[in-house]
């Protein structure tokens, strides 16, 4: 299938309502730009993201999925990081079974004011994904 060269990768971000979503809001407030093909769905806590949702995103054509995790700031408890890591591991296994590059799933802890870090991470992720889309 001939595809035209894409300017930016399609990325689904899972953010968390109290921690990383405010950081993504603040990135907008500070006019820190990132590709407009980055879409956010926010959930209460990153450790509640189901692997099947992530797999669904790849099936529907997303190039990458980014989990903007709570990290140790999580209001639901410190086990959040470990549990989010665990669900990422589980998803990686599922991705391998479907021959999807595990690097197309990325997780980073984004604190409530980590706007710059978010934009940096997303830009890096976008560049990586673009290389795999437009070889």
């Amino acid at each position: 299938m001939a595809e035209k060269i894409r300017k930016s990768a399609k990325i689904l971000v899972f953010s968390t309502e109290k921690i990383s979503d405010p950081a993504i809001d603040m990135a907008g407030l500070l006019k820190l730009h990132y590709p407009p093909t980055v879409y956010t769905i926010s959930v209460p806590c990153s450790s509640g993201i189901k692997p099947r949702w992530i797999m669904h995103a790849y099936e529907k054509g997303f190039d990458g999925v980014f989990i903007a995790a709570d990290g140790t700031d999580c209001i639901f408890g410190e086990s959040c990081t470990e549990k989010t890591g665990h669900l990422v591991g589980k998803t990686h296994t599922m991705m391998k079974q479907k021959s999807i590059d595990p690097a197309r799933l990325k997780m980073a802890a984004i604190c409530s004011v980590c706007s710059e870090s978010f934009v940096k991470q997303i830009k890096g992720f976008n560049e990586y994904l673009l290389k795999t889309i437009n070889p």
Binding site: K10, L12, K18, I19, D21, P22, I24, D25, M26, A27, G28, L29, K31, L32, H33, Y34, P35, P36, T37, Y39, T40, I41, V43, P44, C45, S47, G48, I49, K50, P51, R52, W53, H56, A57, K60, G61, F62, D73, C74, I75, F76, G77, S79, C80, K83, H86, L87, K90, C111, S112, V113
Partner: protein, 643 residues
Amino acid sequence: MKKKLGVYVCHCGGNISDYVDVEKVKKAIEDEGGVYLAKTTMFACSDSNQKDMVDDIKRDDLNGIVVASCSPKLHLTTFRNVSERADLNKYNYVHANIREQDSWAHSNDKEGATEKAIRIVKAAIARARLAEPLVPNKIVAQKAVAVIGAGVAGMKAAIALSDMDCPVYLIERSPFIGGRVAQWGKLFTSNQPGNELVEGLYNKLINRKNITIFTNAEVTSNAGSIGDFKLKVRVTPRYFSGLCSDDQLDKAIEACPVEVADEFNFNITKRKAIYRNTFSQYPQTGVIDMINCTRCGKCEAICDKIDLSQKEEVLDLQVGSVLMATGFDPYTPEAGEYGYQETNRVVTLPQFARMIEMSDKKLMHNGKEVKNIAYIYCVGSRQPEGGNTYCSRYCCTSAIHTSVEVKKKFPKVYNYHFTRGIRTYGKQEQLYAESLKQGDIYLQGDEDNLPEVVVQEKKTLVKVNDILSAGRAIEVEADLVVLVTGMVPRADNSVGSLFKLPKGRDNFFNEIHIKLRTVETFIDGVTIAGSCQSPKNVMESVNSALAAAAKSYSYVSKGELETEPVIAEVDEALCTWCDACSTACPFDAISMSNDKEKAIAVINNAVCKGCGMCLPVCPTDALNLIAYSNKEIESMIDALAVD
């Protein structure tokens, strides 16, 4: 039920429509399944539009609403309330963020931003199609507030809450209450000494039956949340079982062999391991600092009210809200910063304030009378590189006030101010005028031209290229250099982490919205007051304390609170009880039930916080979070993915 949706796309007076073609967005979504009406609006949040929405919902029997505007943090509640006023269950309202996460973030790409807006709105529509009416959970709110920190903000907040008939626990980490104000001399503008101010507040506090004061007390853990915080408070004993007479206490202090730096005087003097309050601190009794005490028993022998066998206690408190008033630390300069610690001729402003308080007749330092005083401003604030970028707000006024007071007390001194532009905002300007009138000299540098302190054996020089006199190099030989240090967040602010309080870029506790919601935090039920939020002077701290008290009170006053009905639910058909979910739950909200034919998991609705940690661990996908079901999330992904 087939959905009849109303969709409103907001211009936000240009904030959105300057970058997103809102008419195009409206056109693109009006034929989506379920959309009955689609409109654009200048300000979705305006009263007139809210009225229109209510009319639309009632007239057309809409059973779902989408507003595409700013972040849901600002207006989710606004539009949920609109739904309720139109007798539509508020959970049938879905918010789409096309400002912070679209028009502003992609202001450099109008086409891309418009395209993204269309998908975001479509995803919200997909979600609204599936939204179910929900009933909020009601929880009991404990009618009591814990105020953490007994400086002027904490004391004032406690009194205000008490006046509103709300029981208060006032928890202070140090052995004495009074905070930073107790360490200060005369205060601008009233010229009331800090100790008198503290005394007035303390007398009010101890007369209130519904205020319980804990000193030497620290919150060590927190379980629970808004309405019902369960705190553990560790109270370190004072090692006094009653009052010793003044005479006995003096003798006991004299007998103590341990000498340590006195933090009340910013380490410029020493104190014993057993010590008494200074006259500005309360309660007016002694205390033993067990970290430094050697338990030699000499003091115990002098007064029988001294009891080294007292043990620390851990108390359990239950409160509906927590008010944080943990204050600030004065910035401590690095060794060598403007000569700090290179010579004892360099001190900080708080140390200098204590020196003035403790001297009379002549201002002496190191056995020499002080004549020339050089004040260096913005130490630890507005740092050009790294460090603290913010302005500490109180210090210009405070330094000038100190220079005016020192001149009044010791008319022979000369004040030289090395500033970066004086910021005596508002009425404080009068003080600057007063200082100029008494003959103080002002010199100014800027971020590329900071003053320099040259420490020589016999003298200390302060130099700057003064921009007020066309950059002329000026130097002053100073008997004393006063570093006007700013405010920094408390070095040990671990109590904030217990409540997961978010911090800002400056590391002070962060409010929800700097303009209109300054005392609320993202953690429901926790408010912030005074200088733990940002640098403030006394009046500003008191105003914020009272505002925070009113807010905390509103959480607990009704005895009941509504919480989000977003909790986990179990698909009984799929559940095969394997215990994975109950292990994952951080709140012990899941247990096994044998009531049905098979063992299944049940959720305790009152305890479940709706984090969803149990979701991914279920091997049979039997768990869902209400409003975040597979269907809802996957239909949003579908809408976002469409090319």
